[in-house]
Symmetry: C2
Subunit: 436 residues, 2 copies
């Protein structure tokens, strides 16, 4: 057996208990909210046939797909999935009997053979938490995506998040309004999308470099530099049908969000939101922390009514969003929203000698039956060492069973956070040791 | 964008909601029990450097490690982890400050580039749910492995499971008793391990083919063909120190299991249990369903005090067990322990028209606030279609809001399982729709 040259694959990470306890809680919060809105879990394999993945993300992304070099019993090349959307589309294509709308959540790692930049939160292996709904064009589902995002972030304790909402149809309309051909929308969007990071003057320069006519840039600038309400925009773009459709959809989403009871301070219309991906066709949304503008977006998504049809050959409207587990976790760490947590153990029972061990073990069994997470220190070590272990792990209570306690059926219980010690009846422990 | 030739990678599986809802519940039961015994979550990346993985499992297994052929920015080859034990050992080696004992659980997929045999439950991508504890030689932890296994299987509803317990030291002692050199223990074990599938006569033949002396085989047969208690065995092997040590450890485990309150019908000593892996050094355990002898074992593990030291260069006693999520799930399916479950949605609200939609959406918001998983049918389709959707997904309740209900602040609620329909006050819905 060869010794391990112990190191973690570059761009990947170990998650020790102090991170995992929080990550598991965040995922549980997500899962509960997803289910409350009628989303059901789906899981697809990490390994897909290579041709299922390639040709969907664009050439640059295709190069970042991790290929496997081992093909026992199969002539087809295989690779690790690059995101969860294409595997989801494959599942939809392969299961024509799924009840529609099909609303699923999926929380799994994805892989990108990229140059990792851990300080900018860019990894080769990271989690995506996706919800998508296929089979309906109703704006109710788009509104629910926003409501789910708001409910999850509120439940996690975020206060300053803002979900920006826009619509690709409005952006198409603006391109038309500026007198540009519709093929230019992507180019224009990519520049406009930078307005949250740079002033109009710089975006203007970028548009000039793209050789867009001065007149068109001026028209864009006049629109983008105002804080336009939907009403103003509606007048400005009157006659441009696609823009008016997008405005009507946005109004519907706002009406539905109000009916759903989502707090208005957490969402707004933002004409400069464009989002990078080419495949969006309608509403788009993205979440930022207003007091942390340097942080990347925590969530992002939109409607992509054409994608699944193109992939699977079966026309299917769809809308989805990704919640960035790593981003959310990092934001919570940086904002000190996560208490230090190395264990979920509530009580450590001290272990003195073989003589009292059966009583110690019996007490552990009793406490666990009450739902109290309990550890027995496994070796009859010095008490000091056992306290140090509880302390290092942050276990809040230590239970000690001496001869007196055993004969009287009591337990000496010490709260390690306050130093307070009490002798209590077994049955009273569960009311003192509240579940974490 | 290229159309998907939709197919699942051979040896891997999609898990649709009807499987995932159960798999998530099984993992939640496991997680809760693990935590109750003081185990904390750990996650390691799927991708490891190849040399971290190779040379630990033996040559045959090394060939089954999935290698990646993409090495951007790194000269070192990479691969997918083959199990969770070696990555865990790497984490222990890299984190010398972990408080000891370090007790972790880890539930992740693992990969084997094997010829898949789905009907025998052999896949290329499958889940392992592992618990391991390092840093203590105390039999308390070994007993807790058995107790955790029993508690999880009982919680899931299994009744006929039996955890067989043996000890490698006893098996070493038996080899010595038969007059064979200790290097023969592995060979002898591999044959003895088959005694649950074949009679002694066949095992005897196998031992003869291995060219073990007739006298030794006779001595082994005399022992193995009896149903020996620990006391009998102790007399039979008196003077063989390693065997007596193993017997003493087994007695300790039994004493601790009794103190922990584990039902005696769920565990037993079984001299013929040997387990395949070479690295076990002390207690070993394995779970079978007594009324389903053809099914493979649901769990298996043991103590491996030498392995981590060999891998990491840091001596570290360890004991662990794997719970086979796929095996457990398959057993529960075959034994019809899993109710049909396609959704966790409790109420579908019908959608008639744009006019009543705000009330419908508002009701959904209200029900979700009460913790009721609620869907709105997103399109104003025919009521028949909406009922069919609820029915196909197995949603138990349908809520209908007509003009009368809206004006009176009531809801027409139909139980789709019984067909019963009532007009109820909003606030009374949560008592009728009990959470699933």
């Amino acid at each position: 057996m060869s010794k391990i040259a112990a190191r973690v694959f570059k761009g990947a990470r170990d998650f020790l208990p102090e991170q995992m306890l929080h990550r598991e809680r965040i995922m549980e919060v997500m899962r509960n909210v997803f289910k409350k809105y009628g989303f059901a879990p789906l899981e697809t394999p990490a390994i897909e046939y290579l041709d299922v993945l390639t040709g969907k993300y664009g050439e640059d992304a295709d190069r970042l797909i991790y290929r496997l070099d081992y093909k026992i019993g199969s002539k087809d090349a295989a690779a690790l999935h690059y995101d969860l959307t294409v595997p989801f589309s494959r599942v939809v294509a392969m299961n024509p009997d799924l009840p529609l709308p099909f609303k699923r959540y999926q929380m799994q790692p994805v892989w990108r053979a990229d140059r990792p930049q851990p300080h900018q939160g860019r990894f080769r292996e990271f989690y995506q938490c996706d919800i998508d709904a296929v089979g309906s064009t109703s704006m109710i589902i788009d509104a629910e995506m926003v409501a789910i995002t708001a409910e999850i972030l509120s439940s996690l304790g975020f206060e300053t998040f803002l979900i920006k909402i826009n619509n690709r149809k409005i952006l198409n309309g603006i391109t038309q309004y500026a007198g540009l051909p519709s093929e230019m929308t992507q180019e224009v969007c990519r520049s406009i999308d930078k307005l949250d990071k740079m002033p109009w003057e710089e975006v203007e320069k970028e548009l000039q470099q793209k050789e867009i006519q001065a007149e068109a840039i001026e028209k864009l600038g006049a629109l983008m530099q105002q804080q336009l309400t939907l009403d103003n925009l509606s007048s400005a773009l009157s006659g441009i049908e696609t823009a008016l459709e997008g405005i009507a959809e946005t109004r519907q989403i706002f009406t539905y969000l109000e009916a759903l009871g989502v707090d208005k301070k957490h969402y707004c219309f933002d004409l400069s939101l464009a989002r990078g991906l080419d495949y969006y066709t309608g509403p788009i949304f993205e979440t930022k922390l207003t007091d942390q503008p340097h942080m990347g977006s925590l969530t992002g998504g939109g409607r992509y009514d054409g994608l699944i049809g193109m992939l699977s050959g079966r026309e299917m409207p769809a809308v989805g969003t990704t919640l960035g587990l790593d981003r959310i976790f990092t934001a919570m760490q940086q904002l000190k929203m996560l208490p230090e947590l190395k264990t979920s153990t509530q009580v450590l029972i001290a272990n003195f000698s073989e003589d009292t061990l059966e009583h110690v073990i019996n007490l552990a069994g009793f406490l666990r039956q009450q739902g109290i997470a309990t550890e027995i220190y496994p070796d009859a070590a010095k008490l000091k060492k056992q306290f140090a272990y509880a302390d290092k792990k942050g276990i809040p209570f230590m239970a000690v069973l001496g001869e007196t306690e055993i004969s009287e059926g009591t337990v000496a219980l010490k709260d390690l956070r306050t130093g307070e010690q009490k002798v209590v009846q077994r049955k009273d422990i569960s009311s003192l040791v509240k579940p974490q």
